[in-house]
Symmetry: C2
Subunit: 187 residues, 2 copies
């Protein structure tokens, strides 16, 4: 079974409180499209991420809200912002980077919120069983057409709502010249 790559653009998950501060109310955000994982949406509205050295405009917000605001960027975005940002699994915000988030009407300091998401693979329980994958396991993947492209240290995340997708940041994709839709198999 092949696993399809989805390159992750920089994006923000907002907590309910931060969403209210930036946009007043959830009703002021408009859904543009749904995403691969069940229940996840992409909003039309965007924020600016501001750091010590630079800022990045027009960054998309994913819904629904989370318990903590989480900003996911690539290594080169972190350099641009001048923020010290660790590579982390989603949800692990220990010593995460900080930034300012700016909407059209408000701004806030998002402390310990910025991470570079570690490369990972999403999978639902049924497919995981078929592929003999365990949650939080670390695997290696080989590109289906370019056998010399091997990605090691891919973290496995299993949840009933997950689509079978390999997620990389734009920087990781650029290094190997990969595109969304590229296929991989387990080594």
């Amino acid at each position: 079974m092949f696993i399809s790559l989805v390159i992750q653009h920089r994006h923000v998950h907002l907590s309910k409180a931060d969403l209210r501060q930036l946009f007043g109310d959830e009703k002021n955000l408009h859904i543009e499209t749904t995403l691969g994982h069940r229940g996840q949406v992409l909003y039309k509205e965007t924020v600016t991420i501001s750091g010590r050295k630079g800022e990045i405009e027009s960054v998309r917000i994913l819904g629904p809200t989370r318990s903590k605001t989480q900003v996911e960027i690539s290594v080169s975005d972190a350099v641009l912002l001048g923020a010290r940002v660790p590579v982390r699994h989603s949800g692990d915000l220990k010593r995460a980077g900080s930034c300012k988030l700016i909407s059209d009407s408000a701004s806030l300091r998002a402390s310990s919120s910025v991470i570079i998401p570690a490369r990972h693979l999403h999978c639902n329980d049924r497919i995981a069983k078929k592929l003999h994958l365990k949650n939080q396991e670390v695997v290696s993947l080989q590109h289906a057409d370019r056998s010399d492209v091997i990605l090691s240290h891919v973290f496995v995340r299993i949840h009933p709502t997950f689509a079978l997708e390999l997620h990389l940041t734009e920087d990781e994709a650029a290094v190997h010249w990969l595109s969304t839709g590229d296929l991989f198999s387990l080594c």
Copy 2:
């Protein structure tokens, strides 16, 4: 007829002289894969792009060589490098940005070489006739699934060797949350 999006990673086209300076000889570069446009290849080897404020490692080189070295990056890459980089059509290097290119064994100053490629659409003559497209025309494109995503100011480039592809930088793709393979039609 739908036009498929290809998100362009940052990359470098080298002149013969610059290739020799960085890698000694063309034979020292190894082809990883061919690209959509006939005759174009992606090399395994990479360079570092260095600017006044920062540098970007592991940037891919496309072949064959060109008459002038051309470095194509996104807006956020330009901010990271601290380089003043204009949006330009490929081949137009008037007042283009400058950077240093570094290989494992050598480096050089690439003056007037760095551009942010203007969004464009590649097409061969046969398809252009079918779509009533003229070379260097400017068109608007609408996303096939998300009708509110409309890209204006798309520059048309026609050549017998071109695949029918819409090219955007990673930054432009991130703003609209687009993926390689997304389909567009002419407005």
